[in-house]
Amino acid sequence: MANISTLNTTAAGFDAVSDQVASGPRGRKPRRVVSGRNIMLYGTLFVAALYYLLPLYVMVVTSLKGMPEVRMGNIFAPPMEITFEPWVKAWAEACTGLNCDGLSRGFWNSVRILIPSVVVSIAVASVSGYSLANWRFKGSELFFSILIIGAFIPYQVMIYPVVIALRELGVYGTLTGLVIVHTIFGMPILTLLFRNYFASLPVELFKAARIDGAGFWQIYFRIMLPMALPIFVVAMILQVTGIWNDFLFGVVFTRPDVYPMTVQLNNIVNSVQGVKEYNVNMAATLLTGAVPLIVYFLSGRLFVRGIAAGAVKG
């Protein structure tokens, strides 16, 4: 290339002047791996990680110990003798009243509650969020504000009115009723997330679809839904953990044959027979928390991305 040669001539003249300088620092500044900054940084992160991991560690370790060891030893010591007895007991043998089949009974109930509740609550909230973001009408913002304030009302306060409402609808005590309850209480935060997310999508897409003649549902299903994956993941995670961990609604709004796993957990943990069987309690706790934990470990990254899209904007 012609220009490079001209360039080189100027550079050559310069080189003569400063040859000694040219041997100075070059390329990437060398960095010690063990610098003060890194020690601070990773040290702090490590200590924080310990604080967060400690309870999990205690749970796991305790659940693998026998009762005598639990009583004697310290909670942080690894089990001297690993036993899966507490896990078996928690899953299949622990008693509540007359039923001695542990958590296993509640697991499928929880699944039966979880799936329709998650699906319905997300469906309703996403449609509402979409409607709030793209199809505003008179008063829609007001309803939304009420919903948001609703997020602050303690659940206990709403139990009575909800019981009355469900009774009037004739769905009290049914799975349908419970699904409605989860939908109601999931509504504020989910609607907020969906509304913010849909509002962050370009309006032009919506306009283009309207000009193409698509209506409310067509736009929702064919344009918006396929683009809303990140926020659906967030909503799903929130709802799966929320509904799976729910105790109050599960027990107040259903009958014993569909009591969720958390009710069994509560029973196992609270039915003290003599000494608390901490190892069984911990195993039961881990078993109950397994589903949301797995969901988190599998989709943590999507969760963070979705949170960024849905929560921070707006």
Binding site: Y172, R255, D257
Partner: protein, 388 residues
């Protein structure tokens, strides 16, 4: 038919006792569907009430009889059991009669009492006293006197769980045992605020302050954990109702040998009788109603009463059953009831609301030494004056 029965009997002794009911009920060709909810009445009650008012009632449910269910009955949500009662001649067999009275509203019977519970017991671990080098106390005063020795030996003198009703119960027990029947009736039956503010009650508060001193350091919540401390010798004694007996029994302890029980804290010969009762919400289906009748009969039947109460550690509701197998403590209780020294419990005398207020006060008082007996008494008098 299948009948769902909700209750909060989930501790070892309780669960074993409930199993007796279930067995007997299943024998009638029906099926007991167990709806146990752990965590005590405070967890279970809202669930039960919601279900009943929500229009999806269970077949039968445990309640502390007394005033807790009154409004539900008034709202027409509870089944009238008068017919079953007449058939079974309950009026005759149920002793003391006050039990059935508290199930009776406007002359109709709405619940089935299943046991008699009394609060006024002091449970002692004999071994603990041996270790501390004191004789096993014969009454409350001796117990208090043994306190310092026990402490020296590293034993908690008095086990008191953190649940609010335990502190409340301890106080009521002290009031009846140390203050006597008159004081009990003045304060709780007549709701005499003056008496509540008077010197006699002041003495009770002094005693309560002593109990507070003795109980410091029992870091447990549940009553049966506290009982367990006594069983294992970590604590020397506990003031707890007769249901504690079940725990000792399950732990294989023998009354008189391993442990002692002092009704009326060994000071007084009066006990209050409360107890559990079963209510039957109005069901829509015919079959369920029939099963309810069957259950009501079964609950009162002598055999079930014996089996149940032996396991539960409480007293049966009928005087006509043979309790030959009953142990030492139970027999003491039976004697007192037979002598007619059974009084109505505060649960039935006070509304749950007043009870709660009292409970709040007692929890506060027993949990921290910063509240003086005088201050506590002042508030106590206030509560009594507005009690209903």
């Amino acid at each position: 038919a299948d009948l769902e029965v909700t209750h909060w009997w989930t501790s070892g002794g309780e669960a074993a006792a409930v199993a007796e009911f279930a067995k007997a009920f299943d024998a009638t060709g029906n099926k007991w569907v167990d709806g146990a909810i752990a965590g005590g009445g405070s967890t279970a009650r809202p669930i039960m009430i919601s279900r009943i008012t929500g229009g999806d009632p269970m077949g039968a449910t445990q309640f502390n009889h007394g005033r807790q269910a009154q409004e539900l009955v008034e709202a027409g949500l509870m089944r009238d059991l008068t017919d079953v009662a007449e058939k079974g001649n309950w009026k005759e067999v149920i002793k003391p009669a006050s039990l059935l009275d508290s199930c009776t509203i406007d002359g109709r019977i709405y619940c089935v009492p299943v046991n008699i519970h009394s609060w006024q017991w002091l449970w002692l671990n004999n071994e603990a006293f041996e270790k501390a080098g004191v004789a096993v106390p014969k009454d409350w005063n001796e117990f208090v006197a043994a306190g310092p020795k026990l402490k020296e030996a590293g034993i908690h003198p008095l086990a008191l769980g953190g649940q609010p009703w335990q502190a409340n119960g301890l106080f009521d027990t002290l009031l009846l045992a140390l203050g006597g029947k008159e004081l009990h009736e003045k304060v709780y039956v007549e709701k005499d605020a003056e008496a509540a503010a008077g010197p006699e009650v002041a003495k009770i508060f002094e005693a309560a302050a002593q109990a507070r001193e003795l109980s410091i350091g029992t870091n447990v919540q549940d009553w049966n954990q506290a009982t367990n401390m006594v069983i294992t010798g970590k604590a020397a004694g506990q003031v707890m109702g007769d249901w504690a007996q079940g725990e000792f029994q399950i732990a294989g302890k023998v009354a008189g040998k391993d442990y002692s029980c002092l009704p009326g804290l060994g000071v007084s010969q009066y006990i209050t009788t409360g107890g559990d009762a079963f209510y039957f919400p109005v069901l829509k289906d015919e079959e369920g109603s029939k099963a309810q009748d069957a259950l009501a009969e079964v609950l009162v039947a002598p055999e079930t009463q014996v089996a149940f109460n032996l396991k539960k550690g409480s007293l049966p509701i009928r005087g006509d059953v043979d309790l030959a197998t009953a142990n030492d403590c139970m027999k003491k209780g039976l004697e007192i009831v037979a002598q007619g020294n059974a009084l109505t419990s505060t649960d039935q005398l006070l509304s749950p609301d007043s009870q709660s207020q009292k409970q709040d006060l007692m929890t506060e008082f027993f949990s921290s030494t910063s509240m003086t007996p005088e201050a506590a008494q002042e508030r106590f008098a206030e509560i009594i004056s507005s009690a209903d």
